[in-house]
Amino acid sequence: MTDVERHTIAVLVDNEPGILARVVGLFSGRGYNIDSLTVAEVDKTNNLSRITVVTSGTRMIIEQIKAQLSRLVPVRKVHDLTDEGPFVEREMALIKMAGKGEPRIESLRLADIFRARVVDSTTESFVYEITGSAEKLDAFIHLMEPLGLVEVSRTGAVAIARGPGKF
């Protein structure tokens, strides 16, 4: 009951001004954790955005977070992907490396193993694009650190349920 669980929650909202502030304000005002949060419009015709929040808390807190989210007037649906069955969760990162010589080559080899793509290169830098679970990204970034890592930009997690079912 008091164990801290990590949950990925998808929130479908009307894409109107202030909606992100409402969601973020709810989390900060009530002291809930945000491990990651992403938002983008997903349905132009119906003017809907999808927010993916990764949060952690006890079971009681997680239930409370979902109830509080559902209470926001522009929120259409709240789905706890972690509770509702298997789902795919992915995150993307852009990782900038600077340097020359062997470390630069080594980073390229590792990038290949991690299936990271080079999206920009100069004679003394690379920008890698990598997609995967947060853990995979963490591992890759950790390996890049001694090889000339200069900057990281991550999207935060997006997620979707497996199978044919519709949100």
Partner: protein, 587 residues
């Protein structure tokens, strides 16, 4: 009917009229001048000019809570809106339906730090149920009608509509309100029938049941309260009410144990601690009710009826959650009860009632009556209650000891007659709330039971009372201290009365007279009845300054961090049961 073309300000007024609004509480300013101009040109809406915007919101709350209607507020941009924030938060905490129209600088100036600009939607986002910034006059009518629907449906609450000045001047089309089908907001009112059956099965077997009703019953309306009373009698269970729920069950009903919580009765709190089935209806297990959570009603199965799913399992884990309107849930419970009602009540039930009567016998509200030369605050309220019987009085309060004593000693027989700031605990609520109640019920006896510290927080509303010749009565229990602060300092901080004594109080008699009201001060218990009669028989506003015992404490009390069965019954318990260190850090 084809839509009409109107300017934004006229659309605002027309929407209010079409929503059945009769009175608006407000204060003009630059950004809302177009609305005030439209108000000037019509006769359907009444405007009550308050003296500070905070007073407008509390007045609207008093109006709403004493009628069941939506209270409407009209204030200007910037400081007008920021002054309204306390009232909005108060309305959110106590689930009061309020529409607050705020002026805003013209759209092209938003974000430029223009004169009297504030990010009103940003500031009020966490203290409203919902808010809008209307940037296009084409959206205005729809937003106005939708706002009313949101404010009064589901768990009611305040809604802010921020209106830039250019939108008020622009011309748009107006359509009367229709059935609102909101795209995402659809509160569940009808409870799940399987859960109703589950609840009934628990109730039928209960040996030691307790019904715990709250402000949701009042919000659900007098009909829901009548069903509530019927249900309590039907299942023959002891019943307690929260501060916000007083009046939902007639106080004279033998099933009623008095208020529950920090300053609730001994019998209510012990029944809550010892019951085996708790039926919570429209109540939210607030910390003022539960005391120490890990010792809260340890042996009971809990049924919780609430329209707000986020109230379920927030503080206390319940066994049977029932989401829906309490009126509808009670109807289903009453109907179902006839099928499951046991022929004979469970064996333990008689013992339970006996136990409850024994607790009642402790007479927990008793107080020291030995001093004959000083007015005890409890005595003052007992006399006020006795002398206003048959006058159907409406009582508002400020916040503090006097509020708790009023809740303990005034017996409410019906809903809509008790207006107090529960969740937020807003000092200064009572006087403006009384303005709103009196505006709604011009011929009724409306009394603000006040403390001398609280009433000074919105004393400017005496001027509103004067302007509209409202016969509001201010019944001040004057102990020269912020009494509840002083009580906590005595119990928790070694009687170091840091800044809780008001050294330079006004002469309330002269103050009343300065505002065109009658004033009287009473210090002798023998003259109290006469003074109260003077107050209630005077046809105009009266301030009655009752000098009471300065060091009286409010008992019973469950100190913070304590459980229901660890309550202090009187001064003799204070020394025996010192407040724990964990309790000290709680509020």
């Amino acid at each position: 009917m084809s839509p009409e073309s109107l300017c934004g300000a006229d659309i605002v007024i027309r929407s209010l009229v079409d929503q059945g609004v009769e009175v608006v509480f407000g204060y003009p300013g630059g950004a809302v001048l177009p609305i005030y101009d439209s108000l000037f040109k019509q006769n359907s809406l009444r405007h009550v000019l308050v003296r500070q915007e905070g007073g407008a919101v509390h007045a609207a709350e008093g109006y709403a809570r004493s009628t069941g209607k939506v209270g409407v507020v009209l204030v200007t941009s910037g400081p007008g809106a920021t002054n309204a924030v306390t009232g909005l938060t108060d309305a959110l905490m106590d689930s009061v339906p309020i529409i607050c129209l705020t002026g805003q600088v013209p759209t092209h100036l938003i974000g430029n730090d223009a004169f009297q600009e504030a990010d009103t939607t940003g500031i009020t986002r966490p203290c409203t149920k919902h808010n809008y910034l209307v940037r296009d006059v084409g959206d205005l009518a729809k937003v106005m009608h939708e706002a009313f629907y949101i404010a009064k449906s589901g768990r009611p609450g305040p809604v802010v509509i921020d209106l830039p000045k250019d939108v008020l001047f622009a011309t748009g089309s107006y359509a009367a309100p229709e059935q609102i089908e909101h795209k995402s907001y659809r509160p569940q009112t009808q409870p799940d029938s399987a859960k109703i059956a589950e609840a009934l099965a628990l109730i039928a077997k209960a040996e030691r049941p307790l019904v715990y009703g709250g402000g949701g019953l009042i919000n659900s309306g007098p009909e829901a309260c009548a069903r509530f009373a019927e249900f309590v009698r039907l299942i023959d269970s002891p019943c307690t009410l929260t501060l916000m729920g007083l009046g939902a069950l007639p106080a004279s009903d033998p099933h009623f144990l008095g208020m529950v919580g920090m300053h609730g009765t001994y019998e209510a709190n012990l029944a809550m601690h010892d019951c085996d089935v708790m039926i919570a209806i429209g109540a939210r297990f607030d910390d003022r009710v539960t005391g120490r959570l890990n010792a809260f009603s340890p042996g009971s199965k809990k049924i919780h009826i609430d329209i707000d799913p986020s109230s379920i399992n927030k503080n206390v884990r319940v066994d049977v959650p029932l989401i829906g309107d309490c009126g509808e849930a009670l109807e289903a419970l009453i109907e179902g009860w006839t099928k499951v009602a046991p022929k004979r009540l469970p064996a333990g039930r008689q013992r339970w009632w006996k136990q409850v009567e024994a607790w009642r016998g402790r007479d927990c509200l008793r107080y020291d009556k030995s001093k004959k030369d000083i007015i005890k605050p409890q005595y003052a309220l007992e006399r006020l209650y006795a002398l206003t019987q048959g006058r159907d009085p409406y009582i508002t309060t400020e916040v503090g000891q006097h509020q708790m004593w009023a809740a303990q000693f005034f017996k409410f027989e019906k809903p809509y007659h008790w207006m107090t700031s529960g969740g937020l605990g807003t000092m200064g609520y009572g006087l403006p709330a009384a303005v709103g109640v009196q505006v709604a019920h011009p011929d009724a006896l409306v009394i603000d039971v006040a403390g001398e510290a609280s009433i000074l927080m919105n004393i400017q509303e005496m001027s509103t009372i004067a302007q509209y010749r409202l016969p509001v009565k201010a019944f001040i229990l004057n102990n020269q201290y912020m009494g509840m602060v002083r009580q906590w300092q005595e119990l928790l901080h070694g009687a170091r009365y840091s800044e809780s004594y008001t050294a330079a109080l006004p002469d309330f008699v002269k103050l009343a007279e300065a505002f065109g009201a009658k004033g009287r001060r009473v210090t002798d218990p023998a003259e109290l009845d006469d003074a109260i009669r003077f107050m209630i028989d005077t046809p105009s506003a009266v301030v009655l300054d009752v000098a009471v015992d300065e060091l009286e404490n409010c008992f019973p009390m469950i100190p913070s961090g304590a459980a229901h069965n660890e309550m202090l019954l009187g001064p003799e318990d204070e020394a025996k049961k010192p407040v724990s260190e964990e309790g000290m850090v709680l509020v």
